[in-house]
């Protein structure tokens, strides 16, 4: 059987059709899509705002990290400490009670 025969047989196929009532089923879905509940509208609005805010927030975060990292240059402090804004730790800190520890001490000994 050559290609021409195959094409002839394929084209002899009856037209494909959906089961009756297809347009009704589509319109039911379309109409339910149109009648969106208010809660869903609120969620959509929030999502739109979020999507818009993400690039700006991301850009600001990167800028702050770069700014902090640039400030750390030459100070000798670990880069991560500077980026996270942690105070420098010195030997003296080990012998000093923090205000929080003092409060705890007061509670334990009346």
């Amino acid at each position: 059987m050559n290609d021409e025969d195959v094409l002839t047989r394929l084209k002899s196929a009856p037209k494909a059709r959906f089961a009756p009532g297809f347009a009704d089923r589509v319109m039911a879905r379309v109409l339910s899509e149109r009648e969106v509940p208010p809660a869903s509208l609120f969620a959509r609005a929030l999502r739109r705002r979020f999507v818009r805010a993400v690039p700006v927030a991301l850009a600001a975060s990167i800028a702050l990290v770069v700014w902090s990292a640039a400030g750390a240059h030459g100070t000798g402090r670990p880069l991560l400490d500077v980026v996270l804004g942690l105070p420098p730790v010195v030997l003296e800190d080990a012998y000093t009670l923090s205000p929080l520890a003092i409060l705890e001490e007061i509670e334990v000994v009346p």
Binding site: M1, N2, D3, D5, V6, L7, R9, L10, K11, S12, A13, P14, K15, A16, R17, F18, A19, F22, A23, R25, V26, M27, R29, V30, L31, E33, R34
Partner: protein, 186 residues
């Protein structure tokens, strides 16, 4: 009663919220969409669902639909993409099922060979033969032969070069030939 307004007018009215106008578009093009999804997926709920989804996607895209492509071309493209996605999902599910069960038994159940004498139904035999092709070859046959689109339109809808359409069509016809042999006598 059928609305004989031009497509662009119906699209414009649908955009403005006229449900009857959109229904007229559905009634006008449901045959085109059926031609793609049923030939790709076979008859059944899945094809019906993909057909509905095609029109729903079109409805949601009405605001951005500029009419540069004809409604028919646009719907065909959505229908083909959704059908190919459905076939991928079906294949993944089948792989999972095969892993859990006896692969031989599943293969036999999923591809029943119709007896040409008993099942002389032409449509069923052609549908079965199409099912023997892989997705990319079936898509070309559906678009180029069954939907009678030009090679260029088929290439555009499937996102492949025209030369690829022709080579895939040639391979598909070779593969279909033995499966369609029983139609010679019917």
């Amino acid at each position: 009663m059928l609305d004989h307004s031009p497509d662009q007018e119906l699209v414009g009215r649908s955009r403005g919220g006229d449900a009857d106008a959109f229904r007229a578009l559905v009634e006008r093009y449901q045959g085109v969409v059926a031609g793609v999804v049923i030939r790709m997926l076979g008859h059944g709920d899945e094809a019906d669902d993909v057909g509905q989804e095609t029109f729903l996607r079109f409805y949601k895209a009405l605001d951005t639909f500029r009419g540069e492509a004809a409604v028919k071309t646009y719907l065909t493209r959505i229908a083909m993409n959704l059908s190919l996605n459905a076939l991928k999902r079906r294949r993944r599910l089948r792989q999972r099922l095969v892993r859990w069960s006896d692969p031989g038994a599943f293969a036999a159940a999923s591809a029943p060979v119709p007896d040409p004498v008993v099942e002389a139904e032409r449509s069923e035999l052609i549908q079965w033969a199409l099912g023997q092709l892989d997705d990319i070859h079936r898509a070309v046959v559906v678009m180029r032969v069954l939907e009678d689109r030009s090679t260029r339109e088929t290439a555009e809808a499937l996102g492949i070069p025209e030369g690829t359409v022709l080579s895939r069509l040639s391979r598909a016809l070779k593969k279909l030939a033995p499966h369609l042999e029983p139609l010679r006598s019917s």
